[in-house]
C-alpha cells in the first residue's frame, strides 16, 4: 500500500523545449512509477470510480492486475469495456469522471487512473503479438458512418459480437477528430493508427473517401444489404463569432487551423498544405479545442499567443491540465474579454482583435455566471491571426439526405434512449446526437448503440 496523498507526477517534456516541438508533452509513467501509483488504489468493494466511467471499465480490477505485474491481464480487463484505451488514457477528462469518484480523493489526490490506463495500453501495443482472436461471424452486416470515437467503439463492439462491420469515412484518413482535431503533442497519430490497425486485424473494414449523404446514401446502404446503420458523424460544422471583419485573411475556425496542422501535416515543414506562420495569435474560446489551437500556434513559432475568453478562469471549460500546460508553455490568458470586431490592414489581413471587458453577473441557464459587457472598456489586442474556437454543430448532410431522420433545433439527431433515430434500424450517437462533447462520451454512446443494434437485429431475424 502506498499512502502518499499525492499522485505520482507525470513526467513531461520541459515547457521551454516542448513549446517548440510537436512531440508528445506527457511522456508516460515508468514501470516503477506505475507500480507505485497502482499501490495507492484501495480496491474498494463498491468501486465508485467505475460509476464515473462512461464505458464502465472495471477500474479496480485492472489496477489489481498491475499490482500483480500482469500488464497484459490489465489490458484485457480494460478492453472488455473500451476499444480505445491508449486514446482515452491520454484525452479523457478523468478529473471529472472516474478520478472524481475515487475515495483517495477525499483526503488528497485521487489515484491517477488515466495515467495507469495509458501505461497499460502502451505496454500492450509495445508487446502485442500478431495473433488476434477471431470471433465467429453471424453473417449480419452493419454500416458505421464516421470513424471518430463513436464510430470506432461501435464498430469494435459489433465486431466482437460477430457482425461484419464496414466503417465509412469522408476524409482520406480514418480516426475523425482524433486525427484532424487533437494535436500530435497530445495524442500522437501513431497511437490512433495502432488502434485502427487493431480493429482492422480483428476484421473491421474501413472505406475512406466516402461521404455518406453524397457518395452513398443511407438508403443505398440498406439496398446493399446492410442490416443496420450507426451514424457517428460528429459535430464538424464550425461556429463563427458573427462579428465584423471575420472574413479577413488570418481568421481561421479552429477546425480549419487544426485540420491544416494535424490531418494535412502542416506542422512538418515539408507539407504541401499551407498554414499562416503568425507572430501574434488570438484564440477565441476557452475549451480544450482552444487550448489545442493556442499550443499549436505557439509550436508553429508565434511569439505571442492569447486565449480570449468572456468568463473568468474558473469557468474555463478546458481540462485543468491543458490550461496548466498552456500556461507553462507561455500562452497568455486574457479573461473576462469578449471580441467585438476583427480589424484589418489595407491588404485585408488581420491586424487586431477589438475586445470589450466583461463582468460576471447572475447565473444563466447553464448555471454559470453570465458575462456582461462593461461600458467604455473597449481595447485592441494586436495580432495577425485569430482562431475561432467557440464550438461546433452537427453536419446537416445526413439529415438532409435521409428520409425519416429528425434533428432538434440545434441540428442534433434525435434518438430514443436506445440510440435509435426516428427511422427503423438507423442508430446514432456521439457528437452528432449530443453536440460537441468528449471522446469518451462518444465512445460510450457508440458502445451502447452497438448493444441495442445487436438486440434489434436478433429480434428482427428470430421472428
Amino acid at each position: 500500500m502506498n499512502n502518499s496523498p499525492i499522485k505520482n507526477p507525470m513526467p513531461t517534456q520541459d515547457p521551454s523545449v516542448r513549446a517548440k516541438n510537436f512531440d508528445e508533452v506527457a511522456l508516460g509513467y515508468t514501470e516503477e512509477q506505475v507500480r507505485s501509483e497502482a499501490a495507492r488504489c484501495l480496491n474498494c468493494k463498491n468501486k465508485p470510480c467505475r460509476a464515473g466511467c462512461p464505458v464502465g471499465i472495471d477500474i479496480p480490477a485492472f489496477i489489481q492486475k498491475i499490482n500483480e505485474g500482469d500488464y497484459e491481464g490489465a489490458y484485457r480487463v480494460i478492453s472488455k469495456s473500451s476499444s480505445l484505451a491508449a486514446v482515452c488514457g491520454r484525452v479523457c477528462p478523468q478529473e471529472t469522471q472516474c478520478e472524481s469518484k475515487c475515495v483517495r480523493g477525499i483526503k488528497g489526490e485521487p489515484v491517477a487512473i488515466g495515467r495507469l490506463e495509458r501505461f497499460v495500453a502502451d505496454w500492450h501495443n509495445a508487446h502485442r503479438t500478431e495473433e488476434t482472436e477471431k470471433v465467429e461471424r453471424n453473417g449480419r452486416r452493419v454500416a458505421v458512418v464516421g470513424s471518430g470515437p463513436a464510430g470506432l467503439s461501435c464498430a469494435g463492439e459489433l465486431n466482437a459480437r460477430g457482425y461484419d462491420v464496414t466503417v465509412f469515412e469522408a476524409l482520406h484518413t480514418a480516426g475523425g477528430v482524433l486525427v484532424y482535431g487533437i494535436p500530435e503533442f497530445r495524442l500522437p497519430k501513431s497511437i490512433v493508427k495502432a488502434e485502427i490497425d487493431n480493429l482492422k486485424a480483428k476484421g473491421v473494414a474501413f472505406e475512406t473517401n466516402t461521404v455518406v449523404g453524397r457518395t452513398l446514401l443511407i438508403d443505398e446502404l440498406f439496398e446493399d444489404g446492410f442490416d443496420a446503420v450507426f451514424v457517428g458523424s460528429g459535430a464538424g460544422l464550425p461556429n463563427f463569432m458573427k462579428v465584423k471583419g471575420e472574413d479577413l485573411n488570418g481568421v481561421y475556425s479552429a477546425n480549419e487551423f487544426l485540420t491544416r496542422v494535424n490531418l494535412m501535416k502542416a506542422y512538418k515543414n515539408c507539407a504541401d498544405t499551407p498554414i499562416k506562420h503568425s507572430k501574434a495569435v488570438a484564440v477565441v474560446g476557452g475549451g480544450n479545442v482552444a487550448m489545442d489551437a493556442a499550443r499549436s500556434a505557439l509550436r508553429l513559432g508565434a511569439e505571442k499567443v492569447y486565449i480570449v475568453y468572456r468568463r473568468s478562469e474558473t469557468e474555463l471549460p478546458a481540462r485543468k491540465e491543458e490550461v496548466e500546460h498552456a500556461k507553462e508553455e507561455g500562452v497568455e490568458f486574457v479573461m473576462l474579454t469578449a471580441p467585438i470586431e476583427v480589424l484589418g490592414d489595407e491588404h485585408k489581413n488581420v491586424s487586431a482583435l477589438r475586445c470589450q471587458k466583461m463582468a460576471l453577473g447572475e447565473p444563466d441557464a447553464s448555471g454559470r455566471r453570465r458575462p456582461e459587457p462593461i461600458s467604455n472598456s473597449e481595447f485592441d489586442l494586436a495580432c495577425d491571426c485569430i482562431i475561432v474556437a467557440i464550438g461546433t454543430s452537427p453536419n446537416p448532410l445526413i439529415k438532409d439526405t435521409t428520409p425519416g431522420i429528425s434533428v432538434n433545433p440545434r441540428g442534433c439527431i434525435i434518438t430514443d434512449e436506445h440510440g435509435k433515430t426516428m427511422r427503423d434500424m438507423v442508430y446514432a450517437g456521439g457528437d452528432a446526437v449530443t453536440g460537441a462533447a468528449t471522446v469518451i462520451l462518444a465512445m460510450g454512446a457508440g458502445k451502447d448503440a452497438a448493444a441495442y443494434i445487436d438486440e434489434a437485429i436478433k429480434t428482427k431475424y428470430s421472428k
Binding site: 482520406h172 466516402t210 453524397r214 457518395t215 485573411n249 481561421y252 494535412m264 498544405t273
Partner: protein
C-alpha cells in the same frame, strides 16, 4: 487508389483527365466537384466534375497547372493512380425549367461551364455560349461548345481567335440584339464573374456563378471556403458552389483567394526545380 484512364493536353497549361471512380461517377451531376490528393503527402484540391460516365464508372476533370499540386498531378500519366478522390461534393447546378440561357465561360472556367451547357442542351433549352480566353493558344472546348449551343461567341483579349474583346462585350451584344434570357450562368475568374454580374444586374437578368474558393475537406468542416452571400456567411462546399451572382461579395472573395499566394508561389517554384532535376 483511383486509376487515370485517359490524359489529354487541351492547351499548354490545361489538361483533361478521365479517372476511374465508380461510386463518384454513379452520383455526379453538373456543377458538383470532387477533391483529390495526388499522393500521401499531398494537399487536397477541389476540381469541378467536367463529365462523368456512369456505365464505365469514370469521372472527367479538367485542371490548369497553376501550383505545386497541379504540376505534380500533371506528371502522372495513363495507368498511374491518384491516392484519394472523393465526391461528388456540393450541390448540383439547378437547370430545370430554364428555356433560354446564356452560358459564359472564362479560361479554364470553360471546363466547368461546358457540362452545364451540355446538360441544358439535353434538357431542350436554347443555349447561347460565350467563351473567352487570353489568346488563341489557350482556347479549349470550342467544338464541344459549338455542338451544344445555338449560338457560340468566342472572344480573346488580343483578338487572335474569335472576336477581340471581353466576355462582357459579347454578352452585351447578345442582349442588345434582343435576346431575352431566363438566366445567365457565368463561370470563370472572379474578376470576370464580378463584371458579368455587374452587367446583368443592369439588365435585370438572374445570374448564377460557380465559386471555387480555398477549401480543405469539402464537407462543411473547415469553414475556409466561407463567402459573404447577401450579407450572410455561406460555405461554398455545402451551400454552393453555385450562388446568385448578384448577392456575392466578389471583392472579399478576391482578397481571400490571395491568402496563401506567397506560399503557393514558393511551393510551385520548388516543384518546378524538382521537376528540372529529375529530367
Amino acid at each position: 487508389m483511383y486509376e487515370i484512364l485517359e490524359k489529354q493536353a487541351l492547351n499548354p497549361t490545361v489538361t483533361r483527365m478521365v479517372i476511374s471512380a465508380p461510386r463518384v461517377a454513379k452520383k455526379a451531376q453538373a456543377g458538383q466537384f470532387i477533391i483529390l490528393r495526388v499522393d500521401d503527402e499531398g494537399e487536397r484540391i477541389p476540381l469541378t466534375v467536367a463529365d462523368y460516365d456512369r456505365a464505365n464508372g469514370t469521372v472527367t476533370v479538367i485542371y490548369q497547372i497553376v501550383g505545386a499540386t497541379t504540376l505534380r498531378l500533371d506528371r502522372l500519366g495513363v495507368g498511374d493512380c491518384v491516392c484519394d478522390f472523393v465526391g461528388p461534393l456540393g450541390k448540383p447546378t439547378e437547370l430545370d425549367g430554364l428555356k433560354k440561357v446564356a452560358v459564359i465561360g472564362g479560361g479554364v472556367g470553360c471546363a466547368i461551364a461546358f457540362p452545364v451547357a451540355k446538360k441544358l442542351h439535353e434538357l431542350g433549352a436554347t443555349v447561347h455560349s460565350v467563351i473567352g480566353f487570353r489568346n488563341r493558344d489557350l482556347v479549349i472546348l470550342e467544338n464541344e461548345f459549338k455542338a451544344v449551343s445555338e449560338k457560340l461567341k468566342l472572344v480573346t483579349d488580343d483578338g487572335s481567335a474569335g472576336e477581340k474583346g471581353l466576355v462582357t462585350d459579347a454578352l452585351k451584344t447578345l442582349v442588345e440584339a434582343g435576346n431575352v434570357y431566363d438566366e445567365v450562368i457565368a463561370i470563370g475568374p472572379l474578376v470576370m464573374m464580378k463584371f458579368v454580374c455587374r452587367l446583368t444586374k443592369e439588365y435585370g437578368i438572374k445570374t448564377v456563378v460557380s465559386m471555387n474558393p480555398i477549401m480543405i475537406d469539402g464537407t462543411g468542416m473547415c469553414g475556409g471556403c466561407r463567402l459573404t452571400i447577401g450579407g450572410k456567411m455561406k460555405f461554398a462546399c455545402v451551400d454552393g458552389p453555385d450562388f446568385d451572382g448578384h448577392e456575392v461579395d466578389f471583392d472579399e472573395a478576391i482578397e481571400r483567394g490571395k491568402m496563401y499566394r506567397e506560399f503557393e508561389r514558393r511551393a510551385y517554384e520548388k516543384e518546378c526545380n524538382l521537376l528540372k532535376q529529375s529530367k
